[in-house]
Amino acid sequence: MMEHTLISKPDFDTQTLEVSLGPQHPSTHGVFRMNVVLDGETIVKLKPVMGYLHRNHEKLAENMSYLGSMPYTDRLDYICSMTNNFAYALAVEKLAGIEVPERAQYIRIIMAELTRLVNHTLLIGFLLNDLGAFFTPVLYAFREREKILDLFEEVAGSRMMCNYFRFGGVKADLTPDFLPRVKELIQNYPRFLDEFEALLSENEILMARTQKVGVLPKELAVSASITGPMLRASGVPYDIRKVDHYSLYDRFKFRVPIGEHGDVYDRYYIRVLEMRESIKILDQAVKEIPSGDVISKVGAGFAKAPRNFKPKAGEAYGRIEAPKGELGFFVVSDGTNKPYRYHVRAPSFINLTILEDMCLGHKVPDAIIILGSIDIVLGEVDR
């Protein structure tokens, strides 16, 4: 039929709406942007935009001594600074072949498990905040996290930027009343978790909002090299503590929870169960911790004079089960006291790659909680 010359050209022709959520958005966990194309309210296309927090961490490390970039690893995933140090220390020890005394290994495991508690509690708080619960779970999480951060401050000197690990052990021994306070924490934490679960796990609105939302199939998770609670929520039993047996993890009896549906509710509940397992590990570690020095002779020497720490040429890849997934450090040395190449395998960056596949077909509020359930920290994503 003859096309009329229309007076007004409509721009609503395809009914889709291009909306950019972020980088300045109340619920994107830092500076992260999602360009979302909406048809009505359902998401048609989603493009994550990152890089707003890029601080050139890896190039910096190449012009600094090995120990010089240890304080910078605290700034990678600024919620769990202890585990970042742990992974970096493991990598360099593997590179230079430094032994770590037993007491130091126990201290490292205690610190790693405490960080896992902090990270999972915070994540559940912020996930509920995205769901709309007006800050109540977040503030309960903060109240518990304070206790653990006080322990870190007492031992390492700073609450979040601990810089506590050295190659071959840890910077300083535990203060006398550190262990009693950890024992007391181990008693109260399950009670807090039960209260937290009573508030959230059976809450019908939460279940309705999160079940069958953002489903991550097992094959996609494995092929996209997703690691950590997201992978285990999709049903793949892969936990680096059990696979690599690094440090002294095979001395402790603990289980790894597995989900079947791989949706947001599973990812939330897996983290609650993982916290209970971490408490079990802490319980055993605090009982069996031996005495002895906390840093090997060689390590102490290098800690005192990092400039003459020249590992032999070669490369090493140390990885641990960080609360967010497999955190690995790939260090290449050319014999000088500065690393030739230094790369961080950041779990939240890789877990973020499949955000679009999980969000297609869902609504805007679902995309927000799917992003929340992936548990990303922009410091680690952008490095």
Binding site: L17, V19, L21, H25, P26, S27, E41, L128, N129, D130, L131, G132, A133, F134, F135, T136, L139, Y140, R143, L199, E202, N203, E204, I205, L206, M207, A208, R209, Q211, R232, P237, D239, K242, K253, R255, V256, P257, I258, G259, H261, Y265, D266, Y269, I270, L273, K363, V364, P365, D366, I368
Partner: protein, 381 residues
């Protein structure tokens, strides 16, 4: 004590008749309730914001505002001054007139509705014989003005927020209006004073089976009508930044805020009047009972805000259309049956029918009701 305010009112009228010319005295007599409401409305709103912040703070184990004034009592004044002095930004491409008009239009119904609430024994501003219907009509208009606010601020987020809020308000307006019908059927008149008189002493409607179900539905729809958690979709902070009032700042935002809190007060006052027997109560003076009931309902709404996450848009609609609406229809029929039959038999039949309907409705919505899950462990050593 009970008729305290009524005596004050009489005293002023006598004084006015003595001093002023007669026609002026009549105007003064008319003006007293208006002045009372004009003061009572905003003041309740200010102190409701404070109560909400204090209550939420205590739920979250912190103190809440306690810096301004003795226990933070002057905080609302501080907020008011801040709102007045804040710069009022109007987006460049926004529809100037509608952008200015929307907040004003939203506050008018919020204030008008105070006229119909029976604060105490013969303490009601205007005893309209269509009291409840007037209330429902006024709360119906806010939908339109919310949408004008959304459309006038010309930004994608507020547009989404506006569309969602209109959809939600309409789908909750029907159960909201219909859940009052049983009370009107039993009382036989719209006037709020008649409704309160029909619930003498402790025979409140909430204790009858259909009254309990009606109260539940009416309260849920009231929470949805006022856009509060778990139905606060329109101004969902986490997704739509601030829904329809994203582009408002300064005094206009304060007006939105004032309208929201006045609606919270008036809606819970209506729920108290219709189902909890307004100012009826054993010993305390009538207006104390009224304020007591209204404030308990308001505290429950604030308690909701401290506990629940938000419902998604389609679940919210599904809940209204597939659960509440059917329950209201059955409730009306049950109220009629209850009214016809005498003696205790009516309570039993009414309760039986209602329970059966609730069970049947739960069966129909089986697919949406989520199930609890059990998790297995790997590496179980």
């Amino acid at each position: 004590m009970d008729q305290l305010f009524v005596h004050i009112d009489q005293a002023i009228i006598h004084w006015a008749q003595a001093v002023l010319p007669d026609w002026m005295a009549v105007i003064v007599a008319m003006k007293i309730p208006i002045v009372a409401i004009a003061i009572f409305g905003p003041v309740t709103m200010m102190y409701l914001t404070l109560i909400e912040r204090k209550l939420l703070a205590r739920i979250q184990n912190r103190f809440g505002p306690n810096r301004v004034g003795k226990f933070g009592l002057l905080q609302p004044l501080a907020d008011g001054v801040k709102m007045l002095t804040k710069e009022d930004i109007v987006p460049e491409k926004a529809d100037k007139i509608a952008h200015l008009l929307a907040p004003i239009l939203i506050v008018i119904p919020a204030l008008l509705v105070f006229a119909v609430l029976p604060f105490g024994r013969n303490m009601i501003a205007v005893d309209l014989n269509i009291g409840v219907l007037f209330f429902l009509a006024m709360s119906g208009t806010t939908t339109l003005f919310i949408f004008t606010a959304a459309w006038a601020s010309h930004n994608k987020f507020s547009l989404l927020g506006g569309m969602r809020s209109v959809a939600q308000m309409i789908s909750y307006e029907i159960p909201f209006v219909l859940s009052v019908v049983p009370v009107l059927v039993v009382v036989g008149s719209f006037s709020t004073v008649a409704i309160v008189e029909a619930q003498p002493g402790l025979h409140w409607f909430v204790f009858t089976p259909w009254g309990a179900v009606g109260f539940f539905i009416f309260f849920i729809c009231a929470v949805a009508e006022v856009n509060r958690t778990p139905f606060d979709l329109p101004e969902a902070e986490s997704e739509l930044v601030a829904g329809f009032h994203t582009e408002y700042s300064g005094m206009k935002f304060a007006l939105f805020y004032m309208a929201e809190f006045m609606n919270v007060f008036t809606v819970s006052a209506l729920v108290a009047t219709v189902f909890l027997g307004g100012w009826q109560g054993p010993i305390l003076p009538s207006w104390v009972w009224f304020l007591l009931k209204t404030y308990t309902l308001i505290l429950i709404m604030m308690w909701f805000r401290g506990t629940f996450p938000r419902l998604r848009a389609d679940q919210l609609m599904g809940f209204a259309w597939k659960f509440l609406l059917e329950l209201t229809f059955v409730n009306i029929i049950v109220a009629a049956i209850w009214y016809e039959m005498r003696s205790p038999l009516n309570h039993l039949t009414a309760a039986a029918i209602l329970i059966v309907t609730i069970i049947v409705l739960f069966q129909f919505n089986k697919t949406e009701i989520p199930k609890k899950r059990i998790y297995k462990y790997a590496y179980a050593d």
